[in-house]
Every structure is written in structure tokens, then in C-alpha cells.
């Protein structure tokens, strides 16, 4: 059976880009959380979550992202989200005011460019 969502990682030096492709909901959010947490080591400075391939994100996914931001802030690591402007996920991120908490970029390049050097 195909998994609902697939997570892949790209290493850009101090910045880690995680691509979440597919749907994130109550059934797989814990799994995705575990994958991402395992991938984010202490030595990276920024995590860019690429949600452009995320076709569905529910409120449990949003909750996870709030938690992730909290956690990374505690470790002095940055979090940026990449979301397509007109996508359903963008609407969700906007409605839950996640965009007030985490910076949103329209593309990976924009995100990488915006990473503040530490």
C-alpha cells in the first residue's frame, strides 16, 4: 500500500531541506514527526520544510508545525516553510495563523536566500 506521504531530505550545508510529498493527517503525523526529528541534527542551523508537494495538511499537521517551531527555537535553529501561494496548504497555514509564527517562503530558493547567517 502506498504511504500517504513521503519525506525526503536535501542537505544544503548548515540548512536542511525536508520535502513532504502527499497528505499529512491524524493517521501519519506522528510518523512524519519522527522522521523529521531524526533528520534534524544539532549542527544544522536552519530547517526548511518544503510543503509545495503537500496536497493535504490537517490541523494535527499544523499543531506539529507549531511544536516544531517551538522546539527548534529552543535549540536556536531556524524553521522556514515553503508553501505555494494559491495552494490549499497555504490557506490552512494562513487560517491557523501559523504564518504569524513561522516565516513562509514561496520557493525553496527564496527560503535558502532568506536564511539568516548565524
Amino acid at each position: 500500500m502506498n504511504p500517504l506521504a513521503v519525506v525526503t531530505m536535501d542537505d544544503y550545508g548548515p540548512t536542511l531541506v525536508a520535502h513532504v510529498a502527499g497528505e499529512v493527517d491524524l493517521s501519519n503525523v506522528d510518523e512524519i514527526r519522527a522522521l523529521v526529528v531524526a533528520a534534524v541534527s544539532h549542527d544544522i542551523e536552519c530547517l526548511v520544510l518544503d510543503l509545495t508537494q503537500t496536497t493535504y495538511l490537517d490541523s494535527t499537521g499544523v499543531r506539529w508545525l507549531f511544536e516544531l517551531a517551538e522546539r527548534l527555537q529552543g535549540r536556536r535553529q531556524q524553521l522556514r516553510l515553503v508553501v505555494d501561494d494559491g495552494a490549499l496548504v497555504h490557506r490552512v497555514v494562513n487560517l491557523t495563523q501559523l504564518d504569524q509564527r513561522v516565516p513562509i517562503d514561496p520557493s525553496i530558493d527564496a527560503a535558502l536566500a532568506a536564511v539568516e547567517p548565524s
Partner: protein, 1389 residues
């Protein structure tokens, strides 16, 4: 055993088991060969039913005897069902045969018992009516012959020569032997042996019998087996009942019980007859006693206006017995006309107040003479306390009245004499300085009557001063010497005239003088006048002396403070103190018991100034302490001449003896009245005891001793009811040791009452069995006691205790002993009569009870219902409390229980024991009768239950409040094959009722009938539970979710009998969205059928997933099942639905056809693809048919339980299904509910029912999803929602956002409503124009929104995305409505 037959009735096949049973080959049985095996007596009936069924092509059930391989016939039930080929042709019958021989034998045996019980009940009814002993015996022996199926029976009665018994009645004997043939009454003969051992005797082989020999009578009839029971009559030996058989046979326990019941009924009848005869004699004696006392009794029933007089009453009235008219007005006719108003008002007052009355009135006797009658009456109350009538006695008291009148007349005479002689009487008391003048003396002196003030000054005032000194001299001289005196002097009257007066005085002692003064002025000479006066004085004094001393009359004078001023010797003797000891003392000082009452009367006299006549005074005196005495008294005022009150006089006559006679007569009459009372021993006993208080006792205890067939009973009545309760309670703790009691007194043993008038501490101590009992004895403080044995012949059957306590301080008198003896004799008659009548009735009631118990146990198969019924039925005949315990893991668990509402036997209402589930289990190894009966497997009888033991019997647990008040208990184990299942506890809470050894038999009988019924029900429940569990486990847990079709299924287990297990359905999702729908029915029921079904299911699922088509699946299943040795037939309908082509193809193995409802509502029957049931033949070929299943269609698969009803053709059921389906709603769940509701009767169906419905949904019409509440279902749900929204024409944005909202609500439900536990939720959606509405329904309760950042965010999200979100929490789930208006696609505008 299974068989099949062709359409031409000849058998075509028998299974292996049939052939094994018959011990024959297939060849021998085929055709009609099997008919040879049917019992000759059953053959015609069997063939007729068989042919008849074939003609009508209906299922049949025939019961017949079939010969087995061993040549023995056994009863079987043969069920056959017709079957048809797929083209609808009748193809013959398939049948199965079950061996029911053992059930049948048990049933036969049961019928015999029922019949015996009915016979005994009939005999009981006959015995209540029959007058002649011979008639009864003749009926009884015929009954025994019939009931025990023997030809020879006999009743042998002891002759006057106690060494011989004589056959008085019998069947099978030469007529000349009856009433003549004699048998020795010693233990060498069977009858003698039975008489000697006092019990039923069974002899199975008389020639080899070691205990006794058969007499010539039995030998002449070649008797081999015999059953005899003794006929018992209390107080004497009667005889023997026998049943004899020439053929050897066994007599079972039931036969013995039957014979004993018949014998007991004969015994009860004879005893009752004897008592009735004795009673008639005793009545005659009572009449004599009545007549001697010139009294009689009467009874008045105001309701019917009837007055009945005893013959003695008529005699008292001087009329012929029986000539009294019997109405109240005819009674009044006898009353002296002047007294009638008084009689009427007395009766009216009594009936209004409902209290006893007494009155005296005159009666006109024939011939005109008047009689004074003392009439007394008391109300008779019914069980409910209302007055049912009045009884009373009438006593001729003319003689007493005459004495009283005489007394008054004499007083009058003296007065007249005084007035005629112009003389007056005076009294003078030198001590008190008080005097008294008669009215005549006042006339003489010329002052107004009553104006003399009693003083000396007034006494001498009229005397001329010149004559004073002489008078004083004479009087003082006489006073000094204590002699009479005579003196003449002159007085001046107020009118101025002077008169010559002669006065004579005489000392009466104690300073008291009496004298006569005569006016001699007009007399010729003083001498003459004086002589005359002297004579008159002599006469007057003589008369006064007669009054004062001679008559049994007590006189006394009291001063104003009720102190004795003067007392005559008679009264002093009555009181029991010397005359001097009275003087100066108040009445209440000397007579504290009733003195205050007398003083009250005197106060009335004082206030009114009028005398009080003829009042009765009762009390004890120092003369006879402890003896209650009665007097008739008159009290009158004594006034000074000026009218002022000087004091009081009294005149008293003792009537104690007469009162005691009246009391005796009244008590005897009252006890006799009890004979007419209810025959209920438990009601009569306390009434008899109550009669004794307070007349003969302050406390009365009446014991009826236990006998073989009656429990001991006690009634205790005390003037203070609380003490009676305490005494009853003490009796439970320390039951009276009767044998010790009897051993201690030869007089008691000889049947005579014993009186102890001075009960000592030593006696109390020796009587008490416990310090608490001694303490109670001190509280009771018995002073005087009479103990009377109640005996029938030489047997003491009871004891009567009559105790006077410190309460009254009374002491029994010697004549009380005689009275108590006579009362005891009469009480015995009353009790014996009640006992026999109630025992006879009870025996009948108990037999009816057994029949009722047996009957109840044949209905229903639920242990609790069965035990409930039993506890219900035994009340109130055999118990007023009944609790059933069944053993469980915790111990003995209360399963059913009933308690009579009222503690009395009259209470008919019952209460179930509340909160059975809350009653703690009784550990099997605990103490107490319940666990003991269970462990020992023997009944436990506790005739008298102590409070401690009662706690252990409390179903609510020993610690529970309130206390469980059971007085007598009997616990009997329920044994199945000697293994205890539980116990039945019977209890009496009503005082007085006790279980006895004889009750054990009935309790055992009840248990013997209940136990197998309970075992059956338990086994049934176990198997039912197993089969149902198995069944449920085989049904799919959930049905597949299809894109464009909804599936609903139902399974209803059969409610009655072991009907669960054969029916089953399945829906197997296949590739490409196809689904295999299956419904099936395995022949048979129970665990075995369920297991067979499991096999079918596995093979079918495997075959379907393997890609086989319906017919191929059936082919494979048939091959598989025919190959198995031990499999049952099954019918099966298999259909495959392809959503792409919207078609089904199906095959039918002997199953009822499927129904299809088209979108336009017409209903079609899918009757193609029909073949033989599975396992009918290994040669069967299975075919397929197919049909369109357009959107909006509903397909219904079902098992025959849905359409079959008894005595109804299948077509009717099919028609009903068609009708119901036609009008059912469109929603598939509702279709299933509607079909079940329309086609099944109320309650559980006879057979189990499976139903599988599939409805294809027209796309984008409505979305309906039923999904498991699991997170992994969310994606699937979203796809379905998206697909539906797309079909509904929503934009991508609408689709995405609405999906998010729906997902949030569903996720919320999954997470919060269920806590991630499996359950379903429902989603439905519809489109109304541009409006999209969703409804999400779950079956849990949402938790409150927790702090921020939680799931509340999900709902916020949904609210942000939808136009409206409404949450409706309900009791069994939450429903959320979402709605949103779709954006219009720009392209469409």
C-alpha cells in the same frame, strides 16, 4: 439420520447413520422398504401422514417407533421438507430423523405422575363431601388400582380384636372376602409388618421376602410384588392400604408417595369423622351445663337480620327449642314492653360503638310470669377486623333480682311501719357526736324533713327545759352501763304545741345508739303507749338486725372523706379485716385495687345527692389475695336534717360465684364458637389463646406439638403485645422442652392440668435455658400458673399455659383448674378439627402445587424465568418466602426470589427480592443451611430459626439491614445426576408456621422437578451462548465501503429453543471494486451448524478471492462438502456485483430467491440460477444467471426465517416481503430495518434470520458513508468526499477547503469521541442548489475543548472554511452539520 425420496414417494437415499441404526443395507430400505421397520401400531398413521404431506407438498413431522439393529423399537421424530429443481419442478423430499425415545419415555412417566396427583386431589375433594366410610374406602381402592396399574388392592382395618385386620374394601377380590377375610395383625404378615413399622413397605418378590410372609389372600392371587402404606389416625391405629401385582414389578418413589397420600387422606377423613362425633357429644354436654345454669347462647347476624338461639336459650325463654322466629323483632316480642326501649337503645349503643354490651331486662314468660334476664353480647370480627356478627349469652337472674327487690321492700316496710305508728327512728353516735333522724321523727318533732343537722344541740333542742335533767340522767346511766333505756319527756313543737314523747334507746356498740321516739300525747296512757313502743322497737331493731347481720349483705357508713365510720361484720369479713381496722381509714387505703373506683362513685353521689344503685364492683381483697371478686353495690347519701351531707351509706352483696359461673359459661361458649371459625390452624390457634386473656391469664401460651406430618406451632398472647412478641422470640431461641416438662409431672402425663399458685424463683431458674430467658421471666413475673395438656386419647398433642403475672397480681383458684381442664378438652377438639381440615386441604393444595410446578417448567428455556415461576408458585401454599440460588464462580448466587408482602398467611401479594444482582453470593464453604444443603446434597430443615441463623438465610447478606425475619426454613438442593446445581430455600416468616419432617418430601419433590428443568435451561443457555458467539464471530465485522453502493446486513438469532447457528452472510470485496455477496443457511442448529457454516465461509472467501465466479464457487463448495464425511446440507445464494457494468451474476444452491427493487419501485424476484442445496448430491451442477443492477436499485438477500411462518404457505411470506420492500425507504439501513419490522412478529423470531441488502446509489445524488472511526480511514474518506464534491460540480478550491473542514470534524470525532477505539461514524452530504450540506454523526460524546493549540484548532479551521458549523451533542452521539455555498465556476456563468 437423513433420507431423501423422489416425487413418487419412494425413498431414494438414506445416510450412513440411518443404515447403521436400522442394521440394514441401502437396498433393503429403498422404495418403501423402510416401512417394515416402523412399529405395527404406528405404521398406518405414519404412512397416512407421509402420503398426505406428499400430496400437499408441505413439510411434515411424524412421530413413530422405528426398529433398530438390535430389534428394539425406539421413538423417532421424522421431519421432511419438499424440494424443487431449479426449473421449479417438485423433486421429492429430503428428511431428517431424530431419536426421541428417552424424551418420550420420560414424558410417559411424567404423565403417569400427573395422573396420580390428579387422582389424589380428586379423592381429597371426595373425602370432604362423603359421609359414609365404606363409600370412601371403595373409591380409594379403585383409585389405587388405577393409579398404580395393579388389579389387586385392599384396605385392611384393625378389628375390635386388635390381633386381627379385616379386608374392608378392595379390588380384584372375591366379593365374599370383602368384610370377612381376616389377616393377623402381627409382623409376620405384610399388613401386620406395615402396621408395626408404621411406614410404607415395598416388596418386589413376595416368595423370597425375608421380612414377612404373604398371607393366604396374597398367595391365592399369586402376588409377587406389593406396596403397602399404613393408614394413620391420630390417637389410634387404623389399618393398612395395599396394592398387589401377580407380575413382578417395581414400585418407584412416586408410587410410594401416591399410596401414602391416599392412605393419609383416608386417615384424615376417619380422624375428622371421629372428631366430629366427639364434638357432637361434647356439644351435648355443654348444653346440659347451660341448662343447669339457666343460661343459653345466641348469635345475631345483623347483615341478614337473623337471630339464632341455642336450644337452652329457648328453654330459658320457656319456649320449645326451634319455635323461636329468629329475628330481632321476634326477640323483642319476648321482652317486657316497659323494657323494650331500654333494650333497643342498649343494642343500638353497642352496635354503634362496636363494643361488648350487657343489660338486664324483663322477659314475659309464657303464662305471663316475668323473668329477669341478664343479657351480654360481644362482636365477632372477621379477618379484616370488621364485625360479622354478635354472639352472647342470656342468664336468668330473676332470683337475684327477687333478693334485691326483697331488700328494698323490707326497707320500705320499716318506713311504713314507722309512719303509721307516729313514731320516728334516730341514731346517735357518741364518738363522733353525730346523730341521724328518720323523716318520720322530723315530722313528729314538727321540723321540715331533712332539716335535722345531726348535732346534739339540735337533738335536745325541742325538749322542755324542765324535762332536760331527767333525760340526761337516764341516758348517761344507760350509756355507762351499755344498756337499753326508756324515758318520757315533753317537747315543744315550733307550732307552739307541747307533746308527750316516750323514747327508747339501745346501744349498738362502738358508741352507736339506735332509738325510737313515739308521740304518746294522744294515747290513753303512757304505760300502754310505752309497751306498744317497746314492741315496735323490738320489731324494728329485729328487722334492722336482719338487714345488718343476717343477710349476705355488707353495710357500711362513710364520712365525707370516704373514711369508714361504721362497718357491719358481713362487710368486714368480706374485706378480710376486723371491724375496728376499718374505722377512720379511707376506702382506697384498705382496698388500693378498686377503692379509688368506689370513691369515684361516692364523689358522684356527693355531687348529685342521688343514690347509685346496683353497680358491679370487681377487685381483690385482703380476705382472698389474688382472687378477683365481684359485688353488686348500692351507695346513697346520708344527710343531716338541714340537708347537708353527713356521709355515705353502702349496701353490698357478693356475686363472685355467679360471675365465675358466667365466666366459665362464656369461655366455654367462646371456645365452641371457634369451631365455626375458619379451619386454618394458624388463625385458630392465636384466637383460642386470646380468649384466655385476661379472664384466666395475663399471659397465655398455646403449643401444638410436632407430629410426623405437622410442624409445631405456638401462639402467645399477653395483655401487653410487646411482651407477647418478646415471648415468641424467646420461644424461637429456646424452644419449650416438652418431654422434660411431661417427665416432670405425672399429673400432666395423665392429661390433667397442673396449678402452681406460688411460682418461685427456683422454678423460674430451673425452667430457664439461658440467662436472657431468665431475665425475660423476671420481666414477665409469673405468680400463678396453670399448665394443661391437650390430649387426644393418650397422646399429648399440645400444652396450654395460663399465667397470672405481677401485672394483675391474681392467683388461680381451685375451680379454675376444673374450668381450664374443660376448656383444654374443647380447645383440642377445635384444633384437631382445624388441623385435619386444613391438613386435608393443604394436602390437596400441595398436590396442585406440584402439578403447577411441573407445568411451569415446561415453558420457556431461561433459568431465571423458570426459577422465578417456581418461587412464584410455591407462595403462599408452601412458603411465604422462597429464594433460588444457583452455583456460580463466586458461590451460590441468588437467581430468583419472592417474599409474601404481608407477613400473615392471608397476604396474597408478593414482592420480588429487590436488586438480585446486589445480593452477595453465598460461598460454598460457608456456614449456614444454604451452603450446607449444597455441600451435603441433602435437604436441611430448620423448624425454628434463631435470629442468628435468620441472618445467614438473608439473601441480601448476613450483615444486611433490615433483619431478615424468617421463622422456619427448609433448604433443598437442586441435584442433576447427583451434582448440585444450587438450592431452593423455603421460609415462613409468619409466626406459628413451621416446617416439619413431612414437608421434606414435598420440598424434595419440588426440587426433583425443578432441577432437571434448570439443568436443561443452563445447558441450553450455555450452548446458545456458545453458538451465538460462534455465529457472531463468523459474520463479517464490518461491511465493505463501496463507492456507489451501500450495503446493510442484519442478523437476528431465534428466540425460542436452540435455533441459533445456521444462518450466515458475507460480503467480500474483490479487485476492481467488485464485491461478492453471500447468504446461506446450514441445515440444523446450534454449535454444530455454526461450525459447518464456518467451513463454508472459509472456502467461500478463499474461492471468491481466487477469482471464481458464483457457480464455480458453489461447485467447489459442493465438491468439498460432499467429500467430508460428516457434513450437513446447506443452502446458499452467491451474487457478484460489478460496479463498472452495474450487473450482478448469481447462483443459487437451494436457497430462497433474492428480491430486487428497481429505481421505479417495482420488485422482481431473481429466481434463476437454481440448483440443489450443497451436499445433497456430489453430482449437482450449479448454474448462473445475471441481472442488471442499475443505480437506485436495491437487492435483498435473506434466509428463510424472514418469510417462513408456521401453518402458512411460503407464498404468503414471499408476498409479504415483496410488499414490504416495495414501500420501504431508499436508505439501505432503513430498508433492512423496515423489512425486519414488517416481516417478523413481536419478539424474537422462531428461527434465526439473516438479511443482506445492497443499494446502488445514483452518483452525486447523495453521499453516504459509514466508516470505522480509525485515523487511517481519513484519507479514504477524503477521497470519497472529493469525488462526490467533484460530481456535484464544486471548484477545486471548494473541494479542497470543504474536504479540510469535513476532515477536521471527523478527526475530532475519531480522536475525542472514541479515544481511538473502533466504532463507526456516518457521513452524509447533499446538494441543494449551490448549497452543500454535510452531516457527520458519531456515537460518542465529545470532550470539552482543552487549552489552546489543541483540537479546538481543528474546529476553528472548519468554522473558518465553512459558512456554518453546528454541533449537536446528543445522549448517544454527536451530530455536526456543515454547510457552504459553492463558488460558481466562472466558465459556467
Amino acid at each position: 439420520m437423513v433420507w431423501s425420496a423422489g416425487p413418487g414417494r419412494s425413498s431414494t437415499w438414506f445416510n450412513r447413520r440411518w443404515l447403521e441404526f436400522r442394521g440394514s443395507t441401502m437396498g433393503e430400505e429403498l422404495g418403501l422398504g423402510w416401512v417394515d421397520g416402523v412399529h405395527g401400531d404406528d405404521r398406518a398413521r405414519c404412512l397416512e401422514a407421509y402420503s398426505d404431506a406428499f400430496e400437499r407438498r408441505e413439510p411434515f413431522s411424524i412421530e413413530y417407533r422405528l426398529r433398530g439393529a438390535d430389534g428394539e423399537f425406539r421413538w423417532v421424530i421424522d421431519h421432511g421438507s419438499p424440494w424443487t429443481t431449479d426449473d421449479g419442478h417438485f423433486a421429492g423430499y429430503v428428511g431428517s430423523c431424530v431419536d426421541v425415545d428417552e424424551t418420550r419415555a420420560a414424558l410417559e412417566e411424567f404423565r403417569i405422575r400427573e395422573r396420580q396427583m390428579a387422582m389424589v386431589a380428586d379423592l381429597g375433594r371426595y373425602a370432604l363431601e362423603v359421609e359414609d366410610e365404606q363409600d370412601l374406602l371403595d373409591v380409594a381402592v379403585k383409585l389405587v388400582a388405577d393409579g398404580l396399574r395393579v388389579s389387586l388392592t385392599a384396605v385392611l382395618r384393625l378389628t375390635d380384636d386388635p390381633d386381627w385386620l379385616q379386608i374392608e374394601a378392595g379390588t380384584g377380590w372375591d366379593e365374599t372376602k370383602l368384610g370377612t377375610l381376616r389377616v393377623r395383625a402381627d409382623p409376620t404378615t405384610m399388613a401386620g409388618y406395615v402396621l408395626a413399622t408404621d411406614g410404607p413397605v415395598v416388596c418386589e418378590d413376595l416368595p423370597s421376602e425375608a421380612r414377612f410372609q404373604g398371607g393366604p389372600g396374597l398367595r391365592a392371587h399369586d402376588v409377587t410384588s406389593a406396596l403397602s402404606a399404613v393408614i394413620r389416625v391420630p390417637g389410634r391405629r387404623y389399618g393398612v392400604l395395599g396394592a398387589y401385582s401377580p407380575e413382578p414389578r417395581a414400585f418407584g418413589e412416586d408410587d410410594v408417595v401416591f399410596a401414602r397420600n391416599v392412605a393419609n387422606l383416608i386417615g384424615a377423613w376417619v380422624a375428622r369423622r371421629a372428631v366430629e362425633e366427639a364434638l357432637q357429644e361434647s356439644e351435648a354436654e355443654a348444653r346440659l351445663a347451660f341448662a343447669a345454669g339457666r343460661m343459653g347462647s345466641w348469635r345475631w347476624d345483623p347483615a341478614i337480620g337473623e337471630v339464632r338461639w341455642s336450644p337452652e336459650m329457648a328453654a330459658v325463654y320457656g319456649i320449645e327449642p326451634g319455635s323461636f322466629q329468629g329475628t330481632f323483632s321476634s326477640f323483642l316480642d319476648h321482652v317486657y314492653p316497659d323494657d323494650r326501649p331500654q333494650v333497643i337503645s342498649a343494642v343500638e349503643a353497642a352496635t354503634t360503638a362496636e363494643e361488648p354490651f350487657s343489660m338486664e331486662h324483663r322477659v314475659v314468660l309464657p303464662g305471663g310470669r316475668l323473668m329477669w334476664l341478664d343479657g351480654r353480647g360481644a362482636p365477632v370480627r372477621g379477618a379484616d377486623g370488621s364485625i360479622t356478627g354478635w354472639i352472647g349469652v342470656g342468664i336468668d337472674v330473676t332470683e337475684r333480682k327477687l333478693v334485691e327487690d326483697e331488700l328494698r321492700n323490707r326497707q320500705l316496710e320499716v318506713r311504713l311501719a314507722l309512719a303509721a305508728g307516729r313514731m320516728g327512728v334516730w341514731r346517735w353516735n357518741a364518738r363522733t357526736g353525730h346523730g341521724m333522724w328518720s323523716p318520720e321523727l322530723e315530722d313528729l318533732v314538727g321540723i321540715d324533713r331533712g332539716s335535722y343537722d345531726g348535732s346534739w344541740e339540735s337533738f335536745i333542742a325541742p325538749i322542755l327545759a324542765s324535762d332536760g335533767p331527767l333525760l340526761r340522767e337516764v341516758v348517761s346511766a344507760a350509756a355507762e352501763r351499755g344498756t337499753e333505756f326508756a324515758v318520757g319527756y315533753r317537747i315543744r313543737r315550733p307550732d307552739g304545741g307541747t307533746r308527750w314523747i316516750e323514747t327508747r334507746g339501745r346501744p349498738l356498740g362502738d358508741g352507736e345508739w339506735i332509738g325510737v321516739s313515739i308521740d304518746v300525747t294522744d294515747r290513753r296512757g303512757a304505760e300502754e303507749a310505752l309497751r306498744d313502743a317497746n314492741e315496735r322497737l323490738e320489731e324494728t331493731v329485729a328487722r334492722l338486725d336482719t338487714l345488718l347481720a343476717a343477710a349476705p349483705l355488707g353495710f357500711a357508713f362513710y364520712d365525707q372523706d370516704f373514711r369508714y365510720v361504721r362497718v357491719n361484720q358481713v362487710l368486714a369479713d368480706m374485706i378480710g379485716l376486723p371491724v375496728e381496722d376499718h374505722l377512720g381509714h379511707r376506702i382506697s387505703e384498705l382496698l388500693p385495687g378498686f377503692g379509688p373506683e368506689v370513691e369515684n362513685v361516692l364523689r358522684t353521689v356527693k355531687e348529685t345527692g342521688l343514690p347509685v344503685s346496683d353497680i358491679e364492683v370487681t377487685g381483690q381483697t385482703p380476705a382472698q389475695p389474688g382472687v378477683e371478686r365481684h359485688w353488686l353495690a348500692n351507695y346513697y347519701p346520708v344527710q343531716a336534717p338541714d340537708g347537708s351531707l353527713l356521709g355515705f351509706g353502702s349496701m353490698v352483696v357478693e356475686i363472685t360465684e355467679r360471675k365465675r359461673q358466667e365466666r366459665a359459661a362464656r369461655l366455654m361458649a367462646a371456645v365452641s364458637e371457634l369451631l365455626a371459625d375458619s379451619p386454618d390452624l394458624d388463625a385458630v390457634l392465636p384466637r383460642a389463646a386470646a380468649l384466655m386473656v385476661p379472664e384466666l391469664a395475663d399471659s397465655c401460651a398455646l403449643y401444638l406439638l410436632p407430629r410426623t406430618d405437622v410442624a409445631r406451632r405456638v401462639a402467645i398472647v399477653h395483655a401487653e403485645p410487646e411482651l407477647a412478641e418478646k415471648l415468641l422470640d424467646a420461644d424461637r431461641r429456646w424452644p419449650l422442652d416438652v418431654s422434660r416438662m411431661l417427665a416432670s409431672s405425672a399429673r400432666l402425663r395423665s392429661g390433667k392440668p397442673v396449678m402452681v399458685t406460688n411460682v418461685t424463683e427456683e422454678m423460674r431458674t430451673s425452667f430457664a435455658q439461658h440467662p436472657d430467658q431468665l431475665e425475660l421471666a423476671h420481666e414477665l413475673a409469673v405468680r400463678s400458673s396453670i399448665t394443661a395438656p391437650l390430649h387426644v386419647g393418650d397422646d399429648v398433642v399440645g400444652l396450654l399455659f395460663l399465667d397470672y403475672t405481677a401485672r394483675s397480681g391474681r392467683v388461680h383458684q381451685p375451680d379454675d383448674v376444673e374450668l381450664v381442664g374443660a376448656l383444654a378438652e374443647r380447645i383440642v377438639l377445635v384444633l384437631e378439627r382445624s388441623y385435619l381440615m386444613s391438613e386435608a386441604e393443604r394436602a390437596n393444595a400441595r398436590l396442585d402445587l406440584l402439578a403447577e410446578v411441573s407445568e411451569l417448567l415446561t415453558v420457556g428455556l431461561d433459568t431465571r424465568a423458570r426459577l422465578d415461576a417456581v418461587t412464584d408458585v410455591v407462595l403462599p401454599t408452601f412458603a411465604d418466602t422462597c429464594v433460588a440460588y444457583l452455583v456460580g464462580p463466586e458461590g451460590l448466587e441468588v437467581t430468583a426470589g419472592k417474599i409474601a408482602d404481608d407477613r400473615g398467611s392471608e397476604g396474597r401479594g408478593t414482592t420480588s427480592i429487590p436488586e438480585l444482582a446486589d445480593c452477595p453470593a453465598v460461598p460454598v464453604d460457608s456456614v449456614g443451611p444454604i451452603a450446607l444443603a449444597f455441600r451435603s446434597r441433602e435437604p436441611v430443615l430448620v423448624s425454628d430459626v434463631s435470629p442468628e441463623l435468620a441472618a445467614l438465610l438473608n439473601p441480601a447478606g448476613p450483615e444486611a439491614e433490615p433483619d431478615f425475619d424468617v421463622r422456619s426454613a427448609l433448604v433443598v438442593p437442586l441435584l442433576a445426576d447427583d451434582e448440585p446445581l444450587g438450592v431452593l430455600m423455603f421460609g415462613y416468616r409468619a409466626a406459628g408456621r413451621r416446617y416439619a419432617v413431612d414437608d421434606l418430601a414435598l420440598a424434595r419433590e419440588i426440587a426433583r422437578r425443578v432441577a432437571p428443568a434448570v439443568e436443561d435451561a443452563l445447558r441450553f443457555e450455555r450452548e446458545l451462548a456458545t453458538a451465538e458467539a460462534l455465529q457472531r464471530s463468523l459474520l463479517p465485522e464490518r461491511l465493505p465501503v463501496l463507492q456507489d453502493a451501500d450495503v446493510a446486513a442484519r442478523y437476528v438469532p431465534g428466540g425460542v429453543g436452540l435455533k441459533v447457528g445456521g444462518d450466515w452472510y458475507d460480503a467480500v470485496p474483490l479487485r476492481d471494486g467488485r464485491v461478492m455477496l453471500v447468504i446461506g443457511d446450514v441445515v440444523g442448529h446450534g454449535v454444530r451448524a455454526a461450525a459447518s457454516m464456518g467451513k463454508v465461509r472459509n472456502v467461500l472467501q478463499y474461492s471468491a478471492l481466487d477469482g471464481l465466479a458464483p457457480a464455480a464457487i458453489l461447485q467447489r463448495l459442493n465438491a468439498y462438502f460432499c467429500a467430508l464425511t460428516d457434513s450437513d446440507m446447506a443452502t446458499l445464494f452467491v451474487a457478484e456485483y460489478d460496479p463498472v457494468s452495474r450487473k450482478i451474476r448469481y447462483a443459487n444452491a437451494g436457497h430462497p430467491p433474492a428480491f430486487l427493487r428497481l429505481p421505479d419501485g417495482t420488485v422482481e424476484i431473481l429466481d434463476g440460477g437454481r440448483s440443489m442445496p450443497l451436499c445433497a448430491s456430489d453430482q449437482s451442477q450449479y448454474h448462473e444467471a445475471q441481472h442488471d443492477l442499475r443505480a437506485g436499485s436495491t437487492l435483498v438477500l435473506y434466509t428463510d426465517g424472514l418469510i417462513e411462518r408456521r401453518r402458512e404457505s411460503l407464498d404468503v411470506g414471499l408476498g409479504r416481503l415483496r410488499e414490504s420492500l416495495r414501500s420501504a425507504p431508499s436508505n439501505v439501513e432503513e430498508v433492512a430495518d423496515t423489512l425486519l419490522r414488517d416481516l417478523l412478529d413481536q419478539g424474537a423470531p422462531q428461527d434465526d434470520v439473516a438479511l443482506l441488502c445492497i443499494a446502488t446509489v445514483a452518483a452525486a445524488e447523495e453521499l453516504r458513508l459509514r466508516l470505522p472511526a480509525a485515523p487511517r480511514q481519513l484519507a479514504h474518506m477524503r477521497n470519497a468526499v472529493k469525488g462526490w464534491l467533484a460530481r456535484a460540480g464544486a471548484s477545486d478550491k471548494d473541494i479542497g477547503e470543504i474536504t479540510v473542514a469535513v476532515n477536521e470534524v471527523v478527526a475530532n470525532a475519531i480522536e475525542h469521541a472514541y479515544g481511538l477505539v473502533d466504532a463507526d461514524f456516518l457521513i452524509s452530504a447533499r446538494q441543494v442548489g449551490a448549497q452543500i450540506e454535510f452531516e457527520i454523526q458519531d456515537f460518542g460524546r465529545w470532550r470539552n475543548r482543552r487549552g489552546g493549540g489543541d483540537r479546538g484548532r481543528g474546529l476553528d479551521l472548519a468554522r473558518a472554511l465553512m459558512d456554518s458549523v453546528d454541533i449537536h451533542p446528543g445522549t448517544d452521539g454527536t451530530t455536526v452539520h456543515l454547510s457552504r455555498r459553492l463558488e460558481r465556476e466562472t466558465g459556467e456563468q
